[in-house]
């Protein structure tokens, strides 16, 4: 995090970010906010929770900044300081992993669907059955 001043704002991270297109913001802009010491704005930036943790940004950074690690640190700090709220799925995942040690994918899927209405609920129900029939849900 203290390395953000090394960023030269070349935009490679954002251009290669698969989800920057979906959000109005980009990793480069978040790092810029940090350079300007506008931390709160960074925590609240909705882009943070769009990140798919695909590591493309860190890999392509010409200054070798761990861009993804910075995004993840912001996620944590934002949550801790009550500036932002992680999507329900994250808490559900963590809860399950702490309680049972492992994740049951279908149960997690159900929980997530509770908080985020599926785009194709019928198809998802059908998918559930098909997965069950193929033994992929146990």
């Amino acid at each position: 995090m203290e390395r953000v001043s090394e960023c030269v704002q070349c935009g490679r991270c954002s251009a290669g970010c698969p989800v920057a297109f979906e959000s109005d913001h980009s990793p480069r802009q978040i790092i810029r906010l940090l350079q300007l010491n506008l931390r709160r704005e960074a925590y609240r930036n909705p882009f943070l929770w769009f990140c798919a943790t695909c590591q493309a940004c860190s890999t392509r950074c010409p200054r070798g900044l761990p861009v993804l690690d910075i995004m993840l640190a912001l996620r944590r700090e934002g949550e801790e300081q009550g500036e932002a709220k992680a999507p329900a799925f994250y808490h559900a995942f963590l809860q399950m992993s702490e309680r049972r040690g492992r994740i049951s994918e279908w149960q997690l899927g159900l929980k997530a669907a509770w908080h985020q209405f599926p785009r194709h609920p019928l198809a998802d129900a059908l998918l559930f059955l098909r997965l069950l029939r193929r033994g992929k849900i146990r």
Binding site: Q55, R76, E105
Partner: protein
């Protein structure tokens, strides 16, 4: 060649065909595995988004086990691989110091074991069927190559190890410029719209090449591209119907293995047409029926 095998949650659920096919082909190539006992979730990308201490602690359990057994750790799921590998490289850098009195184990992923530890020649030597009939599209996704590429030497922008594996089966690999792009799997349960869009973009490009099948090495990619294929079709307004195989399943076919042993019957998008093209004995009535449904 013996590894301590860490399955991870998916491999016991939606990706059980990955595990089945790996366990089927491993003995043929002389890969011995010992399954980790009492293993726990690695935290995926969630633990590090919320709690750093937890994320750093979770992988240590299995790493300790591997150290105690004197074996390197093998994971099939790239997400589990990344978490364990990161924990391992932290320890190698001395933060925290190696807690175990033993040599600290290396962490390997499937493509590394196949392509580097075993070597292409070793694999080629044992294959029995040529898959010359089919055109295969390799798809790596993110975490198989980033930030730790297979063997430590593979390119992270244009890896070729999967193409090489496909080529030795006799099948024709496409060179797919989008092979290291994100499939959106990680966002499926938090931002479904975005996830489907990313998968849709991939299928758009992959569809142009009309491959007989896709080959992947990640449970999450597989779920996104296979199980969620119909959802993507709906988003794109376009029929795809292209089966998505694990690289282990493809190698299994080249070993002439039974489709059930390889878990091919568990695919959501039927591989019927593919098996037929290959004249594979697994092309049986049941599969045909399934394809029809």
């Amino acid at each position: 060649m013996k590894y301590l095998y860490y399955p991870g949650c998916s491999l016991k659920g939606t990706a059980r065909d990955f595990e089945e096919s790996f366990k089927a082909i491993a003995p043929v190539f002389g890969i011995e595995i010992e399954e980790a006992v009492d293993w726990g979730c690695c935290g995926a990308s969630v633990a590090k988004s919320l709690r750093k201490d937890l994320a750093e602690r979770l992988p240590l359990k299995t790493l300790d086990q591997a150290a105690g057994r004197g074996l390197d750790l093998l994971t099939l799921c790239p997400n589990c691989y990344l978490n364990h590998k990161q924990a391992q490289s932290r320890i190698q850098k001395g933060e925290p110091a190696n807690p175990s009195p033993f040599r600290f184990p290396d962490v390997k992923q499937l493509l590394e074991v196949l392509g580097f530890d075993l070597g292409l020649e070793e694999i080629r030597r044992r294959l029995v069927c040529s898959l010359a009939e089919i055109n295969v599209l390799p798809y790596y996704g993110c975490l198989t190559v980033r930030p730790f590429p297979p063997g430590g030497t593979e390119s992270r922008e244009n890896p070729r190890i999967m193409e090489k594996l496909i080529a030795i089966t006799g099948a024709k690999p496409f060179s797919f410029p989008y092979k290291v792009d994100c499939c959106g799997g990680g966002l499926l349960l938090s931002k479904e719209r975005v996830a489907l869009k990313l998968a849709g973009r991939l299928w758009q490009e992959a569809g142009k090449l009309s491959p007989d099948c896709l080959v992947v090495a990640c449970p999450l990619c597989h779920f996104m591209l296979d199980a969620k294929q119909q959802a993507v079709e709906r988003e794109l307004g376009k029929k795809l119907g292209i089966p998505v195989l694990y690289v282990t399943q493809l190698l299994g076919l080249a070993l002439g293995m039974d489709h059930k042993k390889l878990g091919l019957h568990r695919l959501l998008t039927s591989p019927y047409a593919l098996l037929k093209k290959l004249n594979h004995p697994g092309e049986n009535a049941k599969l045909r029926k399934k394809a029809a449904s």
